[in-house]
């Protein structure tokens, strides 16, 4: 009925940044559905349904009522708090021109004096209140449309406010009024609900008809406002918008349900390299068709899709366990729902374990992070004592900062308490106090002010009143026992050092189940721990406090500043040490008879070599991470140089060696630290799997049934290479071994402890030629020498991508899975634009959604 009286000249509505959308499509019932498809729906419930009249596409308020959200409008409030920008759009038809208060048309508020935003009617004007640090809690002063601009016709009303503070009201696609509403949105309250037709606490009713209400987390430009006006209330244009947003649910289904099924059951034979039956299910471009033109997957039609046919009948997977009935149903649903596909290429390794993005563990500081944070906040070096007292962090999924495994035991508690005492003993408490308040005394006001200011720095964010009271309690206890102010502050610091807000990185994880922007302090803390592995410094905290850190320019500036800090280099070296698991070197004990030259000192030299090499390539030469594969330089002690067959330099310590003329060495894979992973036998299986897993981010399945997995030893006439080639040629083994053993062919001349030989211990000639099959490609690339292999690896985008993932995993402190894939692709592309350096990867990570947003858990509030 409405389409006839509003324009409908253009097609689609704007959907970028949409947070909530109500099209009032339901003609019955008490609920108004949020159809934005953005995050968790913010549905509304109608109180007093007898006072409304519903029709398809309209909700008429005829008497006192309130249509309010069933849970807080936190998805809107948090987004606006972060962006400081909003668009509130409504198609409405007022009942009369006498309504005032203003009468609430759309509001996100707590009561009549506390609100985030309200669009209302003040007789013959529209009125918008917007809370900032420069307006009142009631959002005053407000912005009103021109006198007499409100009439009783169906009207398109839009209020926008941008980050710079420009606020505008548009009526029927045209700018009607504007003014500056300055200030930040830091005080937006995420607990407020969204209401239509009245204030949340009632008493400000509005009568009239709604046909559409939409909220965006950004300012729509004049063109966009006009576009939405011109799109009118055309059901089709709204449907297009809905479809665009709801696609995310199907993408999620693909990422979380279908990709794991394809990875576990199909890709062993149907990846790009193997393509059994000429079917490649790893890539979007190829998965839907067989090379003979037949359709493998027909979106929307499982019954006609070959993939479904063979899976349903258990003809596939061939010689492997069939899919369970639940998996089959998921696959069928996916095809019937349109077979939405998100990623360019499926990475089977990302699905080894069931990793859904919903697990969000609070992160305990690792031992290193604890040490650096103590140094950062009080300037005390507690490394020696902390390493002795705190239990080591256990490595899990490739790194020892994996959040789910950062648990605590009694020893931790004892250590934290003991260390807190030791740290305070090492401090000059009075000087520390003077930094905040040179005239601090034990009176309540003085002490509370000090606790608030100091606590913000210590605990990475503002303290609430009960926290201030708790810490204040310690100082009063000290005073009551005759103690000094210094003693009181010292004990209070001990308490802060044991606080969950110091030992953990506490963040808000409650919400509506969707991804929310992180808060200012959370962002400062994330940036600091990712880049430095330490608590944020004063500059970051101040920028967080002012909200300026949210400004892209400010954030970029801070990332630059932090990357230039020596702490970043230390943190990156910690990454390299963890990634390559270099601490294992100190524990290695190769067979003494076979390797008489081995010693613990040599092992430590190898570790030092790789770390110095990393620092040289990444920081001194500022080269891309991939150059770690082939940079012709290294560092060695005389002992290690001799082991490598290099002429030892003068002196006892590490010396830099130019390897331009040393053909066999250059790059991490030619260093003892990495070569030793193959054990005494210099296993091609182990070395090849290292390259496959840790450089090419790929994997293989378990051996198929009934092959002999007993390792074969070398002997005269039988080299590691020939043994490996037999396995690769074997029908049962070659499918998988062909994917990883040739990756190690180029390393055969390096023995189990990384020494270079042209013949093995049996006098067999060794080789270094081979071919490498990059995951996702069908054709192997040959190489003649070890150096050529290193160049191929260095030039591979796959290797580059893998290094990005590794840095990201360490930065985030959790294993990565398919739900992260899209964000990681973006990070990778961004970092490559920046040269593919460690700094560019870190920069892209910090700016990505993986850092800027957090996965929340639903409060399930009604």
């Amino acid at each position: 009925m409405l389409v006839a009286i509003v324009p409908s000249q253009a097609g689609d509505r704007v959907h970028e940044g949409l947070l909530a959308l109500y099209d009032f499509r339901l003609a019955k019932g008490e609920m108004v559905k949020d159809r934005s498809g953005a995050g968790q729906p913010l549905d509304l419930k109608i109180e007093n349904p007898k006072n409304v009249r519903r029709s398809e596409g309209g909700l008429e308020i005829r008497g006192q009522t309130l249509v309010r959200s069933v849970k807080p409008a936190s998805k809107i409030s948090n987004a606006v708090k972060r962006s400081a920008a909003i668009t509130l759009e409504a198609w409405v038809q007022p009942d009369n021109k006498k309504q005032e208060g203003p009468a609430r048309i759309v509001t996100i508020s707590g009561n009549s004096i506390n609100r985030n935003i309200t669009l209302g009617q003040e007789e013959d004007r529209y009125d918008a209140r917007f809370r900032t640090t420069e307006t009142s809690n009631n959002g005053l002063p407000s912005l009103a449309s021109k006198p007499g601009s409100l009439n009783l016709k169906l009207t398109h009303v839009v209020f926008t406010r941008n980050t710079a503070g420009h606020a505008k009201i548009y009526l029927n696609g045209k700018l009607n009024s504007s003014r500056s509403i300055g200030g930040r949105t830091a005080r937006w309250d995420p607990t407020y609900r969204l209401g239509l037709g009245n204030e949340l606490s009632k008493g400000r009713p509005w009568l009239g008809t709604y046909n559409l209400v939409a909220v965006y987390g950004r300012e729509l430009g004049a063109d966009e406002v006009r576009k939405n006006f011109e799109a009118g209330l055309d059901g089709e244009s709204v449907q297009v918008e809905l479809a665009a947003n709801q696609r995310t649910a199907k993408e999620k289904f693909f990422d979380e349900e279908i990709v794991p099924i394809l990875s576990r059951h199909c890709l062993e034979c149907h990846d790009t390299a193997t393509r059994k039956g000429k079917l490649d299910l790893s890539k979007k471009a190829k998965a839907f068709a067989l090379s003979n033109g037949d359709k493998a997957i027909i979106p929307g039609k499982s019954a006609e899709s070959l993939v479904w046919e063979v899976v349903e009948s258990d003809d596939m997977p061939d010689e492997r366990e069939p899919l369970t009935s639940a998996e089959k149903q998921l696959l069928r649903k996916w095809i019937d729902d349109g077979a939405v596909w998100t990623t360019d290429e499926i990475d089977p390794l990302a699905h080894t374990f069931d990793r859904r993005a919903t697990e969000n563990w609070v992160r305990r500081l690792t031992v290193s992070e604890y040490i650096r944070s103590v140094k950062s906040v009080v300037g005390v070096d507690i490394e020696k004592e902390a390493r002795e007292l705190l239990p080591s962090d256990i490595r899990a999924d490739g790194f020892s900062n994996t959040a789910y495994n950062l648990k605590v035991d009694l020893k931790h508690i004892e250590a934290y308490a003991t260390l807190a005492g030791l740290i305070v003993k090492k401090m000059d408490v009075q000087s520390f106090v003077d930094r905040y308040d040179k005239r601090l005394n034990t009176t309540d006001n003085s002490m509370r002010g000090f606790i608030s200011n100091m606590g913000r720095d210590f605990l990475r964010g503002d303290l609430n009143s009960s926290e201030v009271a708790a810490f204040r309690g310690i100082t009063t206890t000290v005073t009551s026992t005759g103690g000094t102010l210094e003693e009181g502050v010292g004990l209070m610091l001990e308490a802060m050092l044991q606080s969950p807000r110091f030992i953990y990185r506490v963040e808000n994880q409650r919400g509506d189940g969707d991804f929310w922007p992180v808060s200012e302090y959370e962002l400062a803390t994330r940036m600091s721990f990712i880049i430095w592995g330490a608590a944020p410094d004063e500059t970051l905290l101040e920028l967080a406090e002012s909200g300026d850190l949210f400004s892209p320019e400010v954030m970029n500036g801070q990332i630059d500043r932090m990357l230039a800090d020596p702490r970043t280099v230390k943190r990156s070296i910690e990454f390299a040490n963890e990634w390559l698991n270099l601490d294992r070197l100190a524990n290695m004990s190769p067979n003494a008879k076979r390797f008489p030259g081995w010693s613990r000192e040599l092992a430590l030299d190898m570790k030092a070599e790789s770390l110095a090499f990393f620092e040289e390539v990444i920081w001194r030469q500022n080269r891309p991470l991939a150059d770690l594969m082939n940079a012709k330089v290294t560092f060695a002690t005389p002992r290690l140089a001799k082991h490598y067959g290099l002429e030892p330099a003068k002196g006892k310590g590490l010396a830099r060696y130019d390897l331009s003329n040393v053909l066999e060495r250059g790059g991490l894979l030619t260093q003892g630290s990495v070569l030793t992973i193959g054990g005494d036998e210099a296993s091609m299986v182990t070395r090849g799997l290292f390259v496959l897993h840790d450089l090419l981010r790929s994997g293989v399945k378990d051996p198929p049934p009934c092959v002999d997995t007993t390792p074969v030893l070398t002997k005269p006439g039988l080299t590691q290479r020939s043994i490996a080639e037999d396995r690769v040629a074997n029908k049962s083994c070659g499918g998988c071994h062909g994917k990883f053993e040739p990756l190690a062919y180029g390393l055969e001349m390096f023995d189990g402890i990384g020494a270079f030989h042209r013949k093995d211990e049996h006098g067999n000639n060794l080789r270094e030629d081979g071919e490498i099959l990059f995951p996702g490609t069908a054709k192997p690339v040959p190489y003649k020498t070890s150096a050529e292999l290193m160049n191929l690896l260095s030039g591979s985008d796959r290797v580059n991508q893998c290094l990005t993932w590794k840095v990201a995993q360490f930065a985030l402190g959790r294993p990565l899975g398919q739900p992260d894939a899209l964000a990681l692709d973006k990070i990778h592309q961004e970092s490559q634009k920046g040269g593919g350096t460690y700094a560019s990867v870190i920069r892209a990570i910090v700016k990505s959604d993986l850092v800027q947003k957090t996965q929340t858990e639903s409060d399930n509030e009604e």
Partner: protein
């Protein structure tokens, strides 16, 4: 209650408080207890068929108190593309595929029983879950740690040195107050404020999600334990504490040099294990511990064992893995006998190793069988003790076969389960475990919610 610990007698510390803090075991109702006993590398299914005449011989003296379960299928625990030992080991006692290198796909059975019977925590002074063991391979946590919480994360810290385990159970915490009453008051004031903060983050207004809240709640639990030991247990036994002797075997990273294995004599291995087993058993006897797990050699363990192996006065075998395998490094480790297993061969070396493992498992079980409780039965008989391993075949060439027929034995759990039998249960591990925990009065069921379950009533009395 002084016990011989690996041949060394120790005086017990904190005797007064322990006796006070522990819930009385003199009550007629014996406490609910559940422990997992893991041994590495498994017993190939065909050898299990030989019953007590084969490698299971050392369990024979305990046969009336055990139910040997054959043909238990753990195939669902396979994680494709991941080391088979790790898969099976993380699946032992959980029956689910791993969720990460240090994360199971679900809880272990000891923990679901603990959670059901002590939802608010164990009585003060008790260690909620004690995890210990003698093992060397440690590339992935799942290889050696066998108690997992409901969320699949580890249920405690692995105590790998006897002294560490001793400290965890009986140790005194030094709060640094030197007995000064004022200092103590102030330190308690600090701790009180810390406790309040942790309480807030576990409470209704906490900003944390459920997984994080659980983590902080654990932290709070440990603070309370610290508080108890630091400020409330003051009366040391004048005879003690006397720490157990220092461990003489390798620990930490040195115990697993890049997966290449270590040289060790049988005497070194068993001396360490006996001390660990004695201390663990003592902790149970003292009612300081009711739940947890103990490991004798990790999944896919890599040791080059040397030494004469005797049982019941007769020489069974002379271990000399590197010589018999004619190899060094990982390929000279006893692990290789499992790769070489063949039903057509004698498998002499594998048999000797497996037999020795059963002897050592029996050693631990016997320690729990020494004293009678109020109901006239031993702790061994009253507890739910599950003995298992990572595989039923070590050849890594058929994950289905490898994870079928995984050895299991259980104790009677105070007459809940049949004992004195060797039974072909022919069931999935998940169904066996669910039947067991249900018999322990636990409603929580392991595994996928929608899965059709099978009650394995044959194991029940």
């Amino acid at each position: 209650m002084l016990k011989g610990l690996g041949g060394i007698t120790v005086g017990l510390p904190l005797l007064e408080e322990m006796a006070f803090s522990a819930v009385s075991t003199t009550a007629k109702d014996v406490p609910v207890r559940a422990f997992n006993v893991f041994f590495g590398l498994g017993i190939p299914a065909p050898l299990q068929k030989e019953g007590y005449d084969g490698v299971l011989e050392p369990l024979k003296p305990l046969r009336d108190k055990l139910l040997i379960m054959r043909n238990v299928d753990q195939v669902r625990c396979d994680v494709s593309g991941i080391n088979a030992h790790f898969d099976g080991a993380t699946g032992s006692f959980t029956a689910m595929p791993a969720g990460g290198e240090a994360k199971a796909g679900g809880p272990s059975i000891d923990q679901v029983v603990r959670q059901a019977h002590y939802p608010d925590g164990l009585p003060p002074g008790m260690v909620p879950t004690l995890i210990g063991g003698t093992y060397f391979r440690r590339s992935r946590v799942g290889r050696y740690l066998h108690s997992y919480k409901l969320d699949g994360t580890v249920a405690g810290t692995m105590q790998e040195k006897p002294r560490d385990l001793f400290d965890r159970v009986f140790g005194v915490v030094n709060a640094g107050t030197d007995g000064d009453a004022r200092k103590q008051r102030l330190k308690r004031s600090v701790l009180d404020s810390v406790v309040d903060q942790y309480k807030f983050y576990t409470g209704a207004n906490s900003p944390l999600g459920s997984a994080s809240k659980t983590r902080v709640a654990e932290h709070l639990e440990r603070i309370r334990e610290y508080e108890l030991r630091a400020f409330e247990m003051k009366h040391r036994n004048s005879e003690g504490p006397k720490l157990p002797p220092r461990s003489k075997v390798l620990h930490g990273g040195q115990a697993d040099p890049g997966g290449q294995g270590i040289d060790i004599t049988l005497e070194e291995l068993t001396t360490e294990w006996h001390l660990m087993a004695d201390l663990y058993a003592l902790s149970v006897q003292m009612d300081r511990v009711r739940f947890g797990s103990i490991t004798f050699l990790a999944a896919g363990e890599r040791i080059r064992l040397v030494g004469d192996y005797e049982y019941d006065g007769r020489k069974i075998f002379e271990f000399n893995d590197p010589k018999q395998l004619n190899a060094s490094g990982d390929q000279g480790c006893s692990h290789e006998w499992w790769h070489k297993f063949s039903e057509k061969k004698k498998n002499e070396q594998l048999r000797a190793h497996a037999h020795m493992k059963m002897r050592e498992v029996a050693y631990f079980l016997n320690r729990l069988d020494s004293d009678k409780e109020a109901n006239g039965k031993s702790i061994l008989e009253n507890s739910m003790i599950t003995i298992s391993t990572e595989s039923g075949d070590g050849r890594h060439n058929d994950s289905k076969r490898e994870l079928s027929g995984v050895f299991h034995a259980i104790t009677g759990a105070n007459s809940r389960f049949k004992t004195g039998e060797i039974m072909d249960v022919g069931a999935e591990g998940l169904d066996v475990y669910n039947t067991m925990v249900a018999a322990m009065g636990v409603k929580h069921q392991l595994g996928p919610a929608k899965r059709e379950r099978r009650h394995v009533s044959s194991i029940l009395t």
